[in-house]
Symmetry: C2
Subunit: 272 residues, 2 copies
Amino acid sequence: MKRTVFFVSDHTAITAETFGRSLLSQFEHIEFERITQPFVDCEAKAQDLCRRITEAYARDGQAPLVFSTLTDERLRHILKDSEAVVFDLFEAFLDRMETTLGQPSAQAIGRAHGLGNATLGRGRVEALKFAIDCDDGVGLDAYDKADIILIGVSRSGKTPACLFLALHYGIKAANYPLTDEDLKLSGLPANLRLHRKRLFGLTMTPERLHQLREERRPTSRYASLDQCRNEIRAAEALFRSAGIPYLDTSTMSVEEIAANILHHSGLKRVRW
Amino acid sequence: MKRTVFFVSDHTAITAETFGRSLLSQFEHIEFERITQPFVDCEAKAQDLCRRITEAYARDGQAPLVFSTLTDERLRHILKDSEAVVFDLFEAFLDRMETTLGQPSAQAIGRAHGLGNATLGRGRVEALKFAIDCDDGVGLDAYDKADIILIGVSRSGKTPACLFLALHYGIKAANYPLTDEDLKLSGLPANLRLHRKRLFGLTMTPERLHQLREERRPTSRYASLDQCRNEIRAAEALFRSAGIPYLDTSTMSVEEIAANILHHSGLKRVRW
């Protein structure tokens, strides 16, 4: 059982993908063929999309689903006349928003797409640069400018979390890998002691760490379950004894890790 | 005129923020106070949220707006009984999706949030590592593994675009800065000639580049409008003569740049 799904937008389609994906995730046992169609910003492109919908219908024997954030009324009408079942974000909510806010909506192409110029704004670009400059234990001199410093053993997911914190929330996050040598010390490595209040630990089950390390260096001592157990045990003991908040990321995506860190640290994101 | 807006989720709230932001962007002249409330996953937290809604109502003298992706029915009912105007993604679409797909929805907490574990999947983490290792003209040895190589003058937005391509689409993007010396050559720098088919140019108006460079090094020759004009002219001439597709990013956010690159290059994203 296969259904074709289109994510349609006059712009990047990131919003259409996000809300559509969220809804689709509630339906298991169905295989979805996902097609993203951004930049549908004129009638010709909307009609071309309708042709692709007709083809998908013929192929699947079932109506495709469309998640749409089209803003222009003419384009929305063209799509509505297609053979797809259309889930239209603006149709669903805009009327009630207009009533609530006592104002007509702009229905302007391109404005509807969220992050907008905020993202190229100084805050986020600076935070990204910071994350790159302070990745994996380098850039220690700049730690006093960090909003947060993630610490954890190798492969505990520090780098993606730092980049996501920067890109999505504009937060300056450094990361420092806890090495075998660090974990043999009693207490925090000297580099980190000055910054204790900004430290945040990442951990996971030894089994998950083993799995991730096996992907990098199969059958190495580094990846062995024993080694993973020892490192995780020592890292968690350090977090507890030094009073560092920490998060078990075993089953988390990078978005979840970043949102949890933001939530638990009380950090303020760059305004969006 | 100020209205308080809550983005509410039992999970990261990224979906709630994205769809809410998209809708709010259609209303100008209203100042919104934005509050994100992730991880509302029990009745106590839902009731606490209702108290904060009541407080906001008293403060603003107007009903707050709530954009919600709560999945649990009990929690949704608690929120619905609050004093806010609730825009509930699942209520708006789930019935019709169930009818269309001929299946009940899972209504499962945490599953509703899109990117899910895909994001920590190997593809994206590898792509991120690639983007960091091949940032700003380093890692040339690895260029044959790149899906795409962004080129442009300093401050043309290459690094954020590469990281976004990696994090959001799982695409391995390197970036190479076109220096004064590179631009004096006739034709592509030697480093890039082998990879012509994978090159993609970023450009912008000299005025915009000037503005960005002024932020980094005010009143320098590097930032002067003359210098920006010369570099942009030379870079665009190179793109055209070498047959390299390119994009004017002057008014684009990093999301827009990445979505445009994906769209115009025909690259395939990592499956999500």
